[in-house]
Amino acid sequence: MKRSGFIASTTVGFTRALSHALMSEEIARQRGLLQALDARVRVIGLFALVVAVTLSRRLAVVLALFVGAAILAVLSKVSLGTLAKRVWLVVLAFTGVIALPAMFVTPGDPIATFAGGLHITTQGLMTAALLIARVETAVTFTTVLILCTPWAHVLKALHSFRLPREVTTMLAMTHRYVFLLVETASQMFESRHSRTVGRLPRAEQRRMVARSAGVLLSKSIDLGNDVYLAMQARGFRGEVRILSDFSMKPRDYAGLLAFLCAGTLAIWMGR
């Protein structure tokens, strides 16, 4: 176990979160295919495609959708390298590990036998492939949506679909404060990391985490109280109001049609 390994790994998680957000802002500013469409169309369209992925029962269709997702990404200025590094490999590692035993465990027609009576069945291969393909494709669609759309627009799109106002506000506030808390937490951890000489005994590590969590909780609650006051100070009386600015242009209708057709086709062919 590395010296204070858990601090390092937690800090890595924090940095990943921040860099993901920053990248998203960069890409959302570019002029790509998705960026040209109304945010609502993007949200509906990409959600529809994720649903299509889940509904399709044929591997071929899921793979076709995957290719579609990759093309959409490239046309929207999301590089395949970025996707591979941030999404595809990660999913492969996680779901791959989960899917691997299925090749051996699923009953059916064996196509390869190993020592000790272990065999791989067609069904096993197919189920593992299907699972991995589905997860990869779905996550690609969601990631591309988020990389190309500012979070505020995603929320406003959801709000226009009748998501309760308070929920939209809470999603917005939470997102904003996640970064503040992540920064605070990572600063606390970094200062600990640099001050720790040699390995901390496990019990001491646990105490440290509990204390950091406690301090973070206190700060969070104070923040919550103060934000409420700040909202009141500017006239908030309990009813959330949101300013939204969407208008559909012809190309948005075209885009919507394209998405829905693609989704329907995929569902029909994959039934």
Partner: protein, 359 residues
């Protein structure tokens, strides 16, 4: 565990979304009764806090690490409704913004962690800490146990969701279309990880935070302490100290009805037809993989199990009518029944005490 897209069939996702929406609706309604505007920033902040907690890699006894959820401390400070909303929001942001968990499975994740988690955490915390002073050690223990139970309850429900997949959602050749592991693999796989790592992590964080709050800001532990609060304390609390019994009853009902719901869905959505199982060979193999046949079982249990499995059409494959499956559903029914009993008992006991709440 955050379930990604593709692990659960569309019908499973839809059912769990329905369950989640019911939970969200009930939680929102209860929170609106208090001062929603005031609670909006607080829930947001707790959601952000839970989000960060889920990223903490906690060092556990034995040299391992685990991740907590933060649902227990949220339930202890905000009450079950606030916790349901806070954790759901954290999960939504993780799924939407960071790709951690799927969007078709967001309903399932929220149901497992936010709803079942909050209710189990809150209920067990209240039960175990009943009557203890705000600074009592018993509250810390209660938080630890509540955290452990909540994490494992979430995992258990998820395991059931996984286990059901290969049972019903496969193609003609017997290929599972979604999560590929039957009950006897999925259950231990999920539960072992949570009974050890994740459960302990959640227990540790919850206990640690309650101990911290007892010193730093005991007022935050007031609204869920079950103690009388003065009018000004109640005005300052984040959630009215009203009984969450209705929500609990809802859960008990849900668990009681789940076996029936599962059956109904199975009948309505089942993708199989008699022709697909004409190949006796593959049918037997699938059956063998999914069952752990037991030689004998108590007569009463037998009757109960056949109660669930009988409604299936005669041509349904044998494994659906297996004893294991029946046991599982009976277990769910049993837990739901016990829950309902304990709620009624609580209500009876509370009625006997003098009124504790100021109007």
């Amino acid at each position: 565990m955050h379930i990604p897209d593709g692990y659960l069939s569309p019908s499973t996702c839809a059912t769990l979304y329905a369950g989640a929406i019911a939970g969200w609706y009930a939680a929102l309604k209860q929170v609106r009764q208090v001062l929603l505007s005031r609670v909006v920033p607080m829930i947001s902040v707790f959601a952000a806090f839970a989000f960060v907690v889920m990223m903490f890699n906690l060092p556990l006894p034995g040299g391992t690490t685990g991740h907590a959820i933060g649902v227990t401390i949220s339930a202890i400070v905000l009450g079950p409704s606030g916790a349901i909303l806070a954790i759901s929001i954290a999960l939504a942001i993780q799924a939407l913004f960071f790709g951690d968990g799927g969007i078709t499975t967001l309903g399932a994740n929220c149901f497992n962690m936010a709803i079942v988690g909050s209710l189990v955490a809150y209920g067990s915390y209240r039960l175990i800490s009943a009557g203890a002073g705000i600074s009592s050690k018993r509250r810390i223990v209660a938080a630890a146990i509540a955290g452990y139970l909540a994490a494992n309850a979430s995992a258990f429900v998820a395991a059931i969701e996984f286990g059901v997949q290969p049972l019903w959602f496969h193609d003609a050749a017997g290929t599972p279309l979604y999560a590929p592991y039957p009950f006897h693999v999925a259950l231990p796989a999920m539960m072992i990880g949570h009974l050890t790592f994740a459960g302990l992590a959640e227990a540790l964080i919850s206990a640690g935070l309650v101990a911290y709050l007892q010193v730093a800001d005991p007022r935050l532990l007031q609204s869920t302490s079950g103690m009388a609060m003065s009018t000004e304390e109640r005005a300052g609390a984040y959630l009215a100290a009203s009984s969450p019994r209705r929500l609990w009853l809802g859960v008990a009902l849900l668990m009681l009805l789940t076996p029936l719901g599962v059956l109904a869905i199975g009948k309505a959505w089942s993708e199989w037809s008699p022709a697909e199982f004409a190949a006796a060979g593959s049918r037997a193999q699938v059956a063998a993989a999914a069952t752990m046949p037991t030689a004998t079982s108590p007569a009463g249990m037998q009757r109960l199990t056949t109660l669930w499995t009988a409604p299936f059409p005669a041509y349904a494959p044998t494994f659906v009518r297996s004893a294991t499956f029946g046991y599982l559903l009976s277990a769910m029914f049993g837990v739901g029944f016990l829950l309902a009993l304990s709620l009624l008992a609580q209500r009876y006991l509370e009625r006997r005490r003098t009124t504790r709440y100021f109007p």
